[in-house]
Subunit: 325 residues, 2 copies
């Protein structure tokens, strides 16, 4: 392989971040992988917009044209289940590795993609789907080669954590906190997915499927958003030493798993108590290793794009059996 | 390869932990790796002590006898630079992969072992040398495939963090806190290495060598232990919102690195402020990903042994190009 050929599906914030990192870090990537990493095609919604990419890169709204290029790996950063799932399934069928940041799609179709990839002997990497730049997926995958994970507790949505932090620390009203989140770019114009807990639910499902190896359905998960949180309660409970956090809890029993995504009152002994603002954090308990906590940026262009390019390096290091001492 | 043959060097707390995990998790390891993992030899100090291991395992005080067995990987959990370094160097020369938990040795000779392993095309894994069960090494290795690490701040010694926590939270005297740490098994009978900051220094050097790829010498590191911390100051500063923590700081500039291991007064905004007791924590700042924090058990039999067996799985997954979707 004289070069690694990449197709990018989606050229929004994260897609462009991946493009920029690959271009800027070409020298480093070539050193590590022993060959260049070339973006050969980019799938966009609207090909009439000027993207400022070199003319040798195919920029098109035709997924067919992208996937008929000679591509080794497809990096996907679109929103929603379809058409992303269909494209990735087609890419796997062609023998491409895939890397995705699309949590909604992966919560619904991750199990199917993993099965299909196993048959075609290609890799599916999805670090960016859960907790943005925090390497939760790779840490868990490594952990479970030896440990049984007995519990996960996590703050998986930065928007709601920011809103709850604002209410708690600045006595903001819910509306003020939401508006502040939107002004800072932490919340979408339509924040329903975050506020109702769907975003955290998707991530909890992805973690549960990783840890059980089986398909997990959203309607088996208890889900409550943060709209039921009342400012007066937050202030009152704070005086008693409690804070409210929107927490995904996964409990693994004998062949059973219980998943809940809900606001919870916790005290300062709880490892998620001090997680503030848009940070994400995950506390994983393994039977040998005990309790590990990971915390960091749960979203953002470069944190998310960074772990996707790390996924790419991982796939091709493995392909070449590269050892990094 | 019909089985993976392991030699254990050292059968103290951590060595026995590795032995127990490999025995107890045989079924899982065989499933993941496609072959059994057999401990073929154990190097002990005193072979007259009954160890309760099956008779087909060679238990001996002769390193020569251990290393002339047909061994694929050597797992080392001895204390001190020598003879551990010589044994591992011999093992690499024979074409064995090595896994170590020996931070003093690896701080002094890690660079040489990595160079030698590169020439012999074997792996050196050392997750257990820094922060026990917290997967600092693998997280950093992955991170730097894309990011430049600009700073690390870390609590790398559980004993001193426990002592400082006791003084801060319970107004214990230094002597009381140390005694409590010893009673709980958190501190050695001779705690000099911890209290004077040598243990944290070793770990800081290992991180620095990982990140620079060059040899780092201990006398280039500013080191101060916790003996200069005075209880009256701790109580006084606490009223002003500051806590003292023993922190290793690595700053990476243009081709330069500044390493300090010292007590520091930090306020509640600092990401290490809430790290209490024997936990270790590391805050790493990458240019793309931003600030990540990892926290967990910095020592202990099973946390440390767990990451060593994970290292083993990693080596042989790579050997076999196993993909875990």
């Amino acid at each position: 392989m004289s070069s690694i050929n990449v197709a990018l599906l989606g050229f929004g914030t994260v897609g462009r971040g991946v493009y920029e990192i690959i271009e800027q870090e070409q020298k480093r990537l070539t050193e590590i992988l022993g060959c260049s990493v070339n973006i050969v095609a980019i799938l966009v919604d609207d090909e009439t917009i000027e993207r400022n990419v070199p003319s040798h890169i195919l920029v098109t709204s035709s997924a067919h044209d992208v996937l008929t290029q000679p591509v080794d790996v497809v990096i996907e950063a679109i929103v929603g289940v379809e058409p992303a799932y269909t494209y990735l399934s087609q890419a796997i069928e062609k023998g491409c590795h895939i890397i995705t940041a699309n949590k909604e799609m992966f919560a619904h179709k991750g199990h199917e993609l993993k099965q299909q990839a196993k048959e075609r002997q290609v890799s599916v990497e999805y670090e960016a789907t859960v907790a943005g730049g925090v390497p939760v997926i790779n840490t868990l995958r490594q952990l479970v080669t030896v440990n049984r994970v007995v519990q996960i507790e996590a703050i998986l949505n930065g928007t709601t954590n920011y809103i709850l932090s604002e209410i708690t620390n600045k006595q903001a009203s819910f509306a003020e906190a939401l508006q502040s989140a939107q002004q800072l770019g932490y919340a979408e114009a339509d924040p329903t997915n975050d506020l109702k807990g769907y975003d955290a639910l998707y991530k909890a499902i992805i973690l549960a499927e990783l840890l059980t190896g089986t398909k997990v359905y959203g309607n088996h998960v208890f889900r409550e958003g943060i709209k039921s949180v009342i400012k007066a309660d937050v202030i009152h409970q704070q005086l008693k030493g409690s804070r409210v956090k929107h927490i995904a809890t996964l409990n693994f029993g004998q062949g059973q798993i219980d998943i809940r995504v809900e606001p919870k009152w916790i005290t300062s002994e709880h490892p998620l108590y001090h997680v503030e603002g848009v940070d994400n954090a995950i506390v994983m308990t393994g039977d040998y290793v005990g309790r590990l906590k990971l915390e960091g940026p749960g979203a953002g262009q470069y944190p998310t794009a960074s772990v996707m390019v790390e996924d790419l390096v991982k796939i091709f290091s493995r392909e070449r059996k590269l050892v990094n001492n």
